[in-house]
């Protein structure tokens, strides 16, 4: 996996990133969207203790919850970066949510089918787009105390 570094965080180069939800999206060969937490989404949540995901077959719109996360610094809904129908939930992560603490970059949460291409276009993609936004977010979260300064 090709990655690039921003302020000490490693980001996968082949993903789309959603500034509003701090989720990444990785499209598979069929155009389905694998959705996971980006490094700041993970770190600002703290250590994950519990995870629940909506059932496959559930339709979610962009900005709507597709599950719930309980972590040391965040308790609340997981919000979809793009709309679609949940085609699969990651049973491995559901069984052991602590996996996200070690590596949220490879552990996807849900697969969304039928995503809208226009919504994907609204996400950030590639180092040139992602790096400035991500660096500014690191600064913002440090100022707020959400991550260690």
């Amino acid at each position: 996996m090709v990655t690039f570094d921003v302020a000490g965080y490693e980001l996968a180069a082949d993903r789309r990133y959603d500034p509003a939800t701090h989720m990444w999206v990785d499209l598979d060969d069929d155009g389905n969207a694998l959705v996971g937490l980006d490094p700041l989404g993970r770190e600002t949540s703290g250590d994950v203790v519990a995870l629940s995901l909506h059932e496959p077959g559930t339709a979610v719109g962009r900005g709507e919850p597709f599950g719930d996360l309980e972590a040391a610094k965040f308790v609340g809904p997981l919000v979809a970066p793009v709309g679609g129908t949940i085609a699969a939930c990651n049973e491995t992560v559901l069984a052991d949510p602590g996996l996200l603490n070690a590596d949220a970059g490879t552990h996807w949460l849900v697969v969304l089918a039928g995503v809208d291409a226009a919504e994907l276009d609204g996400m950030l993609c590639g180092e040139a787009e992602v790096a400035p936004w991500f660096a500014a977010e690191v600064k913002r979260f440090r100022t707020q105390g959400a991550i260690a300064e």
């Binding site: 309980e70 965040f74 603490n101 707020q144």
Partner: protein
Amino acid sequence: MSVPAVVEPGEALRVRRETFGDAIEFYAPGLKRWQSSEWVPEKANRFLPVSVTATACALQCDHCKTKVLEGMITVSREMDLFATAARLQAQGTEGLLVSGGSTKRGGVPLLPHVDAMRRVREELGMRVIVHSGVVSPKLAAGLAEAGVDGVMLDIMGAEETIREVYHLDLTPADFERSLALLAEHEMRIIPHIVLGLHYGRFLGEWHALEMIARHPVSTLILVVLTPLIGTPMADLEPPPLADVTDFFALARVTMPDTKVNLGCGRPGGAMKVALDRAAIDHGLNGIAYPAEGMVAYARERGLRPEFHEYCCSLTWANA
């Protein structure tokens, strides 16, 4: 101290209703981003924690290993406490928890910051509460002079726990002395007891409760050992639920006139739900970050929920 007789939940709830009526208080300070289907706080950053030592701590306690400090805002040489508070106030923050790592003597090095605390209160009009750890006479006087709104400290009742978990060469009497010093200065004292702190089992909790009950405390906060990833306790089980809930009832009847809240430190998932239900059933006054369904459950039990977007130690601010 021997293990006290179990208090029936019904008795605990009766004692609670007699003194405090039907109100139950739910709290959501800004210590983490939080919302439930029953309550979405309006302003997540209303109350924020700052550390005067960044992530440094001389104790390296087995249950924390500075993990708790990692989510706090750092006070630095470049931006002191007053400047930090002013910056946060500009973003909407109304109160601070001034905390930090401990020295080898068991206290948080707050003394250099007491003048800034006074200015934060007087010039910015913000609320200031502190995590003090063990208090020296000088620090107690300084905090009183600064007019801080409350002082929070963990009280431990077993020397083994103080030595083995906190790595401190102190005794329970040193913690009781801190309570006495703060009381002498008429501070609002908000003691915490970490239930199951001795590697997941109860040891000094009953003695800690005895000591606390001898002093005029504002609010007692009960928290439950949460095995944190990256600490020596990471693989431990939290204390048995029944031990914790028995302690809820005991604390309630031991301190019938003092507010007793379930604080934000407690295990998550299914245990959190069970703990929160028990807190309601066993007559506690309030819960920080209530689990899903607890607002409805409190109503089912005939209680009247109140919602506060600040720390559950600030109970006097509810009036």
